[in-house]
């Protein structure tokens, strides 16, 4: 009612503007000259073209359309072929053999061979490249190329998750010739479904179908991606049919899409998780009981309901559907203020304490809201939180230095729990200085999980890991949200996946 009224009022106000525009005849809704081009929009642009270096969400989404890794994960997170058609671990888990697709071709016409695979991984492992993904491939001792279509990875220790790590576009195969020429990152030459014709950073990308792609013909002739920094503007462009397909981040905007008859919202729970990171190296979070009290005092469902309008699911540390435990089985996932208060007084903080929580402005868009709900919830056990929202880079800088009491974060997930958490919860994890908590149990469970090849036993190991992690509460895992794409109803064939990949755009078609 109120909404209708305001809509009417607003339209009344804008009449002069519309009249003006109409008289001048300049408000133009472009008729798509070539309907086989998919017009797409997103709010943040890719930051670069080197698949081994770029880690930003948008960069990965763009590069996945141009480059291919050895394998991919599908919508149910199972490993499926990409450049490699088959793969085999040796019995001791220390040798991985992959067969390459003989028809796979780079966009410069050259066939993808084992030499390219070897060169690509050597580039990732070379410290001079500065590839963050190197950390996932440290167990590679040597790479053999018995023939152009076979590659053998010799591992220094059993490493089952390495195959999942290879499904990442950060482990994409690039032409050995481009590596030698030093032109990876300036020219985008992959073996994927689309070629990059033009990139105007922070403005637009133009992609055209790669006719030689081994995956078969693409459903559209090309994709034009526009950067519209404001998501309400993206929604407006969808409403006026200027664009066919869009990526949305903010649940407040995404939830408006289903109200439009001509639009469809695709959403899928993702692997990334919203979390309140405590810093267990700072007092009083050094105390197990204080951390547990915080865990008990937080109503995760309410954080989700408020900050993300309920768009998501409360989660424990493991977000991979096949691995995750039912959150209600985990420590204090049902809010228990009495228990929290008792834990606080046992730890000697019956009167509570003060701390600062940091968050990045707009990254995720729900960060400030999450911090405020948590602040209000923790106030009930006497914890006085001071919120500091920071520009993303300033936040990242503080985060990497471990310079915070608490932090609200949206951390990326992986299709394998070891790849996802090895950086935080092992004794040698690169991000131990951020996590600031480790115990023997966690480290042992992670090492077991890395070596175990039997899926059922692996699942059991990680279930114990998850239970223990929730109990020692270095962080308070909150919820996983959805990844959203919005599209016109005449677009079909898009399959959203938990990794957020847009790879299935290769099979999307537009009905006339």
């Amino acid at each position: 009612m109120v909404q209708q009224l305001t809509r009417k009022l607003l339209s009344g106000m804008a009449l002069p503007a519309v009249a003006l525009a109409a008289v001048l005849g300049i408000v133009s809704v472009p008729i798509q000259a070539n309907a086989a081009t998919l017009h797409m929009a997103w709010s943040q642009d890719a930051t670069g073209l080197d698949p081994h270096k770029q880690t930003a969400f948008s960069s990965l989404r763009l590069l996945e359309l141009i480059y291919e890794p050895l394998v991919r994960v599908d919508a149910s997170l199972q490993i499926v072929p990409a450049i490699a058609t088959s793969w085999q671990f040796s019995a001791d888990g220390k040798e991985l053999t992959l067969k390459l697709d003989p028809k796979a071709k780079f966009q410069n016409g050259a066939t993808v061979t084992s030499a390219d695979v070897k060169a690509s991984f050597e580039r990732i492992l070379d410290e001079k490249t500065g590839a963050a993904a190197r950390a996932n491939f440290l167990s590679i001792a040597s790479i053999d190329t018995p023939d152009p279509a076979t590659v053998v990875f010799h591992l220094s220790q059993p490493d089952v998750p390495i195959l999942t790590a290879m499904s990442d576009v950060n482990a994409a195969i690039v032409p050995a010739s481009e590596i030698a020429a030093g032109s990876v990152g300036t020219k985008a030459i992959g073996s994927g479904p689309f070629k990059l014709d033009k990139w105007d950073p922070n403005a637009k990308e133009v992609l055209s179908a790669n006719k030689d792609w081994t995956g078969g013909a693409t459903g559209v002739d090309g994709i034009e991606i526009s950067v519209l920094p404001d998501e309400t503007a993206i929604l407006a462009a969808l409403r006026t049919k200027q664009i066919d397909f869009a990526l949305l981040n903010d649940p407040l905007v995404a939830t408006l899409v289903p109200k439009e008859a001509s639009l469809q919202l695709n959403r899928v729970p993702v692997l990334a998780y919203h979390v309140l990171q405590l810093n267990p190296s700072r007092k009083p979070m050094t105390e197990l009981k204080v951390r547990q009290a915080i865990s008990c005092a937080i109503d995760r469902q309410e954080v989700l309901d408020t900050a993300s309008l309920g768009e998501g699911k409360v989660t424990g540390p493991l977000t991979i559907p096949a691995m995750a435990t039912d959150p209600s089985q985990l420590f204090c996932y049902k809010r228990d203020i009495e228990k929290a208060k008792q834990l606080m007084s046992e730890a000697g903080y019956a009167d509570g304490f003060s701390a600062t929580v940091i968050g990045a402005t707009g990254e995720p868009p729900t960060a400030a809201a999450e911090a405020q709900v948590i602040q209000s919830q923790l106030a009930e056990i006497g914890v006085k939180l001071d919120i500091k929202m920071m520009e993303l880079n300033v936040y990242v800088d503080a985060w990497l230095k471990g310079d915070f009491d608490m932090a609200v974060a949206l951390n990326g997930g992986r299709a394998d729990p070891y790849t996802m958490y090895n950086r935080y919860w092992t004794k040698t994890g690169n991000l131990q200085k951020v996590a600031n908590y480790i115990d023997d149990t966690l480290d042992r469970q992670m090492q077991q999980g890395r070596a175990e090849t039997d899926p059922a036993r692996r699942k059991a190991i990680f279930a114990d890991f998850e239970k223990h992690l929730a109990e020692v509460s270095p962080w308070i895992w909150l919820y996983t949200s959805y990844s959203y794409t919005a599209q016109q109803k005449n677009v079909s064939g898009f399959v959203p996946t938990p990794t957020g990949t847009l790879f299935s755009l290769s099979k999307v078609t537009i009905q006339q």
Binding site: A14, I26, V29, G130, R239, L392, N393, L400, V434
Partner: protein, 319 residues
């Protein structure tokens, strides 16, 4: 003439000042090109990897060495290479500038065409109902944040009428003037609203000032018609504050209108600088700020010259 030459001679000095301040300032803000590219994944880098990336981005040396390098490049007319665009900084800026200039000019035209007559009208009807009406209208224009106005315009057009100027790819004026105007008119109105409101208020106030001045009264007593007094005698003198204000606002708009460019997805200078700051593209921030500063000085010089034209008694730079 000598005054002009002297003013121009100071330009390089000011620009060097700007460049040093920006150079140091942007490096004092936490985070760098590496964290901007990798985010929290930067934590996975080994020290050797970090060094390799720092060398790649040219941030591996102390700031004064970097500055020396940059200054040496500048002397050869080279503002450096942007790390995000992989292109020369000057080229990127010159690509963006026409849009910003056009938008600034359009907004200023809207502001002056609406604002000055409204201000004069209000001043000549001081404290009457019509004066109050103009003032209230100016107040509304002035008090609506431009992001609210932009969002309202976009929402009403798209949800209410199903129309919207083409978002995304921007058409330069010389390629498709109609489409170009279609893309710029709403942003220009958005910016022009507040600008016009300020112009209205300033010209009203200045006009009131001048109208009470002796020489205007003299002119009046000599039998010059009311309209003649206002337009021929009073207005030129009342224009000084208007010129000052318009100059500042225009200068600001030449620096880009960040929020309006964001919402209308226009690739102008404002977004360029914001993105460059957020991506810690030091060379680009540096070059863009320098360019904006240069524009400011040109605009201010023109404003000062306009003072002399409007009031010949003012002699610039002389005791």
């Amino acid at each position: 003439m000598t005054y002009l030459l002297r003013r121009l001679a100071v330009f390089p000095l000011v620009l060097i000042g700007v460049s040093i301040v920006v150079f140091v300032a942007i490096r004092m803000v936490p985070g760098d090109a590496i964290t901007a590219m990798l985010g929290t994944e930067a934590g996975l880098l080994t020290p050797a990897q970090r060094e390799a990336l720092a060398a790649y981005f040219g941030i591996d040396q102390p700031w004064f060495v970097q500055y020396g390098r940059w200054l040496a490049g500048l002397l050869h007319g080279n503002l450096g290479i942007s790390s995000t665009y992989g292109k020369p900084v000057l080229e990127i800026i010159l690509e963006r500038f026409p849009l910003t200039l056009e938008l600034a000019l359009l907004s200023m035209i809207i502001a002056l065409v609406v604002g000055v007559p409204a201000g004069v009208f209000a001043a000549t009807h001081n404290e009457k109902l019509s004066d109050l009406g103009v003032r209230v209208a100016a107040m509304i224009g002035q008090s609506t944040p431009n992001f609210v106005l932009a969002l309202l315009i976009i929402y009403t057009l798209s949800a209410g009428f199903g129309v919207l100027p083409a978002m995304g790819e921007f058409s330069p004026l010389w390629r498709d003037p109609l489409r170009n105007l279609g893309q710029l008119i709403l942003p220009a109105i958005t910016l022009g609203c507040a600008f016009a409101a300020s112009v209205t208020r300033i010209s009203r106030s200045a006009m009131l000032d001048v109208l009470s001045d002796d020489y205007v009264r003299t002119a009046r007593s000599k039998g010059v018609s009311a309209r003649g007094v206002i337009w021929r005698h009073a207005l030129p003198n009342a224009l000084i504050p208007v010129v000052t204000l318009s100059g500042i606002e225009f200068g600001y708009l030449l620096g880009g209108a960040v929020i309006v460019e964001q919402i209308y997805a226009l690739p102008g200078l404002g977004r360029l600088v914001l993105d460059a700051i957020l991506q810690r593209d030091y060379a680009l921030v540096q070059g863009a700020v320098l360019f904006i500063a240069f524009n400011f000085m040109i605009v201010n010089l023109l404003v000062d010259l306009a003072y002399v034209a409007l009031d010949p008694r003012i002699r610039l730079g002389e005791q």
